[in-house]
Amino acid sequence: MGKARGKALGGKGLGSQARSQKAKPSANPNPFEVKINRQKFQILGRKTRHDVGLPGISRAKAIKKRTQTLLKEYKERDKSNVFTDKRFGEYNTKISPEEKMMKRFALERQRNNEKKSIYNLNEDEELTHYGQSLADIEKFNDIVDSDSDTEERGMLSAELTASHFGGGGGLLRKKTSEPGEEEEKPKSRKELIEELIAKSKQEKRERQIQRENALELTEKLDSDWKEIQSLLSHKTPKWEKKDKEEKPKPDAYDMMVRELGFEMKAQPSNRMKTEEELAKEEQARLKKLEADRLRRMLGKEDDENTKKPKHMSADDLNDGFILNKDDRHLLSYKDGKMNQEIDDPNEEEQAQEGGEEDSEREEDEEPETEDSQESDAPDSHSDLESDGDSEQEEIVHENKNKKPVQAPEKNTNDAKQKAVFEAARSELPYTFTAPDSYEELKSLLSGKSAEQQLVVIERIQKCNHPSLAVGNKAKLEKLFGFLLEYIGDLATKTPPDLKTVDKLIVQLYNLCQMFPEFASSSVKFVLRDVVHEMEEMIEIKGRASFPGLDVLIYLKITGILFPTSDFWHPVVTPALVCMSQILTKCPVTSLQDVVKGLFVCCLFLEYVSLSQRFVPELINFLAGVLHIATPNKDTQGYTLVHPFKPLGRNSELLLVSSKDDMDTWPKRGLPLSRVNTLKESSETETNHVRLSCVSVCLNLIKRCLTMYSTLPSFPEIMKPIRVLLTKHVPECGYPRELQELCQSILQEMENQDKNYQPLVCEKSKPVPLKLFTPKVVKVLEFGRKQGSSKEEQERKRLIHKHKREFKGAVREIRKDNQFLARMQLTEIMERDSERKRKVKQLFGSLATQEGEWKALKRKKFKK
């Protein structure tokens, strides 16, 4: 296999050789011996390796190689004995000849040094003195003489005889090897020896010094270590105490210095933070969360932020300050104008005044953004960015105004609650096992007051904190599910126990913070059940009815537990779809439906209050509610959408039946807990509820106005409501309060900018011209493109290579056979010619013999 490759390379070598030969004027190849491989096409960039071939030379080379290998093998085919060359390093090219000789010599000597036979007493070991044979010395031969003369004179010296007749070869060798040295050393021998002695002595001394040094160093190290150890551990080992006594007592000063050196230095730690700083930190945390929320709201899922490991610069002070790119507000375009977020100045303001209102911030933060819109609504509605700063001041004022109002009330409440809580705490056992089923939880909580229930839940949480035992996480996760179910049950009770639900929310929130995944999935499943039920109802009856109070509560809870402003959120988005379905699929058939619908509208508004997203269903429903609150149906000027019908049974549901009730109407919130029992109330009360509904509806409309005023087709969106408010509502004769509200809404609608700017697409990138750059494809094997995968390419390459190698090997074998056949033929020819020659010779000799015999015979005859 390797042969072909080698040959190919050889061929190439030959080719290049030939080329180089061509270049040389001296090497003038016979033009008849050069074979030129003509190419059909000239291909740019292709290297031709075989354009010129020298068949004669390459053949000669191949034949030569075969004679050296194959022929030899062939000739030795019947021979079993092997000639082994045992000369040392005969075929080892790595060793230089001199070295080889030296080695051989060493080996020889070694061989001779061994005594041939222990019983041969005559063959003594050569005795030497100072490396000189004693025999030599005794003979006092002039070595120079012997060297120069013995052989010349033909004298048989002892050495000579020894060497020739079984004497030690070594002796002779020694002799021959020595003369070189002896020529110059006779005088310097002594010096040499002295030198040698001196050297060895010096070496000895040096070694000693070294050893001493090492000893010293180890001793020093030991002592150092002991000192450190004494400092490191208070308890000194016993053995050390003994040692100490032996050692000279260290200097007091040294001790001091050392001690100071090793004294534990106080680590610089964070100083205690002042209240302000703590508040600031909290502020920063909230700010970060807010920034996160904004990012999600805009739907820019910055995956790089989460996926990439955080890069730590070498210069990083590790002080927690990271220049976070995501905090930067990206430029975005809204309504054709540049949109800048205004939240940052807002928060800075807060940071300044923060601190003293730790407890209230959580409540305050959210309304601020909402308030800001309300406050800025009357003065100017142009743009968000323009009056960002002025807003902030107002906010601060507002907050300050609010505070005193809320605080005392809260304090009293707190005090009362605390008392109740204490009472509840004292009555209950301190440990609770986590419930395994919903029934268990129910039995735990049944018959207890809301406060007690709260304490029970709290204690379950504490007893089963995930850090205390392995299975606690699952237990608490289950607890979340059970609580959710329990809340649903409380809400479906008649009358619904909303107070307890109100209390339980905090616990639910805490659990949710602990197990976001589980919480989200369980809320999702609750929502799915709701939607599924509605879908089934629609399929069976063709329409759905408004869901119960529990569903409304669940939706509200979803908004509490999860951020509702995200562009997409695994729980909130389905909840929004669910609410949309409630508002579009459920026809309003009763007053309670109206209340429920308004509550859902309210939730919708809350959900989108931060993100300011557009909810068509909301507008539709509010318009529908206004519609059923107005009497005249003849000329409309607006169109209603699905759940509401212009005419029909329920088209005057909210119409107040008596004027007197208008005047006695007290403004107050719609009672959620009585949603299911509204029917049984008296006519006056019903009228009051109707008025409340209208009031809520108008308020919500107002909220919508401020929220959607920036939408491009705002007047079109609000058109049905405007028509209703201008034409139909005034005829109802509502209380002054409501009429004023209507007027302010209309006023606001009028004030809106009606600026329509033509739409313009963003400029798309110019399409680059097509360039005729060649497509670059990797070519692994010449003339073969591989577009497939790496493994496939590799496989193909190997197959190709195998094929070529195989061919090469076959060719090679064929040539070998030819060569052998040729050799056999020549052998036969040789043998034949030899035979012929011999036969001829025999014939010749016979002929001469015959001739001689005949001549003899003739001679005889003549005689």
């Binding site: 109100d502 913070q513 509490i560 959900y607 959408v641 719609l670 491009p712 009606k754 963003e762």
Partner: protein, 515 residues
């Protein structure tokens, strides 16, 4: 008559009646049991009747030909055998009558069995006709019997859809179908005559159920499945010709549709109009009046009529003036909320797919759809936004609606588009822009917002197929969002709540109270 006469008793009677003509009087007893109150008794009596008269029909022991009155036949002292046959034929008739009465029985089992028995008689009567054939090759079919069956199938009160669905298996047979259609025509005429002051809607519903379950074969060669087996089916028999079938089919539908029907029934008719009525009519163009009238009504009915009208326009050369104007006027907010939304938009897509439509028309449609989408639910929005984008793609002239770089008209004070204008040509749609889509970019549902974002860039040249979006339901959207996996942990609200309503001094807090 003893009420506890069981199956054994009936069996004995049956044996007696069949064994000799002398025992024929037990037939009265058997027929008496048919009137029983006990369901089981009635069932076994029907069985017995079925076997008895089946055997008699096969033995040809019933009188053939025009039946004389019973008294008259009995009075004469004629042939005893003839008397017996006439008498038995009268019993057979009364049996059939009581069976068809039983079709209105309260128990479905009884109804079903009565139906099957009657149909068995129909088959046997067809094989052994009780009428004399007037000429060679006269086609005889027990029409009278089938008429009474059909009458039982479409009662004036009570829902008989179950029975009709049982009957459907007989409708597979070409002759039964043919004669049923004829019977329906007769029956409808008769019922409307008798109920002058108004036919009850249940009758129409039942009739519709029966009529709509009739489906003709597509080809002449498919007519080979006959309920009553004749030795040879002659070509000249009407029942073997698809043409005649179509004719009767047409007649049946017209006799049904010419009366004033309940509104929901019109909807149902229009729903099946395009694929199960029009193709089987010999002259579909006769439906033009009906469809155009329905198209003019407006609302959902118009939407439904559109489909049939489309077939007439497309395949039968109907010229409909102001078609697009009508279509344009059909677009109102309810179009996104009705059940037939998918169908309507499928057709609207077809109608608006022509590239020869004038730009003003397409622009008016696009603008109007946009305006309507301001009140649409998300599932409709997900469909209609790509729909609008497709319109703009097909008609590059309309791209001005989303891209108007000219400066001079930069500040309009109002939308030039006139929503109230009925003529698309005068609606000034081309001067307007699709600001509504801009508003929808802030829709609460992320998918809708994303879809609306498409107009921010220049539209890609390829249309988006809306076929799979047409049927999108809110439930599917919910499921999609439900199943979608978010990357990373679930984001949580970071503000601690104080209670159910108390967190932010929020809206719900302002307007609702817990107690």
């Amino acid at each position: 008559m003893e009420p506890e006469c069981g199956a054994a008793e009936l069996g004995r009677w049956l044996e007696a009646a069949l064994k000799s003509r002398r025992g024929a009087n037990v037939v009265f007893d058997i027929l008496g049991v048919l009137q029983s109150d006990q369901e089981d008794d009635v069932l076994s009596a029907i069985h017995t009747c079925s076997r008895l008269f089946g055997a008699l029909l096969e033995r040809r022991e019933l009188f053939v030909g025009h039946l004389p009155a019973e008294e008259a036949a009995m009075a004469g002292s004629g042939d005893a055998l003839r008397k017996y046959k006439v008498w038995m034929r009268h019993r057979y008739n009364s049996c059939c009558n009581s069976l068809s009465e039983l079709l209105g029985h309260r128990s479905f089992k009884v109804k079903e069995l009565a139906l099957c028995t009657l149909m068995k008689f129909v088959q046997l009567e067809g094989e052994y006709p009780l009428e004399k054939s007037k000429w060679e090759g006269n086609y005889l079919f027990p029409r009278g019997l089938l008429l009474s069956v059909v009458e039982g199938l479409i009662p004036t009160e009570g829902d008989s859809s179950l029975l009709i669905s049982r009957f459907q298996e007989y409708l597979e047979h070409d002759d039964v179908r043919y004669h049923t259609m004829q019977a329906v025509v007769d029956l409808v005429a008769r019922v409307t005559d008798t109920h002058q002051q108004g036919v009850p809607s249940t009758f129409w519903n039942n009739t519709f159920t029966l009529v709509s379950s009739v489906s003709l074969p597509r080809q002449q060669s498919d007519i080979s499945n006959f309920y009553v087996k004749h030795k040879e089916m002659l070509e000249k028999w009407k029942v073997t010709q698809l043409k005649e079938h179509k004719h009767v089919f047409e007649k049946m539908w017209f006799s049904f549709l010419k009366h004033k029907l309940p509104v929901n029934l019109y909807k149902k008719v229009l729903v099946i109009m395009h694929d199960s009525i029009l193709p089987h009519m010999s002259q579909p163009s006769l439906m033009i009046d009906f469809l155009t009238k329905a198209y003019d009504i407006g609302g959902a009915i118009s939407l439904l009529a559109l489909n049939g009208l489309f077939i007439l326009i497309h395949q039968h050369n109907l010229e409909y003036p102001d078609f697009y104007r009508k279509l344009y006027s059909l677009l109102d907010p309810s179009v996104f909320h009705v059940k037939y939304r998918a169908r309507f938009f499928h057709l609207a897509d077809l109608f608006l797919s022509s590239s020869h439509l004038p730009a003003y028309l397409v622009a008016a449609f696009a603008k109007r759809l946009c305006r309507l989408s301001l009140t649409a639910p998300p599932e409709a929005l997900l469909m209609v936004i790509p729909f609008i984008c497709n319109l703009l793609r097909r008609h590059p002239a309309c791209k001005a609606l989303i891209h108007r770089p000219s400066v001079e008209a930069s500040d309009m004070t109002a939308d030039p588009y006139d929503m109230e204008e009925e003529d698309p040509a005068k609606s000034h749609a081309l001067e307007s822009c699709l600001w509504e889509l801009k508003a929808l970019q802030r829709h609460y549902h992320p998918e809708v917002a994303k879809a609306a974002m498409a107009i921010n860039q220049a539209l890609s040249p390829h249309e988006v197929s809306i076929a799979q979006l047409l049927e999108l339901s809110p439930y599917e959207i919910f499921e999609k969002d439900f199943k979608k996996e978010g990357s990373g942990p679930v984001p949580l609200e970071f503000l601690q709540p104080q209670g159910l309503l108390g967190r932010r001094g929020d809206l719900a807090m302002e307007h609702f109270a817990l107690d």
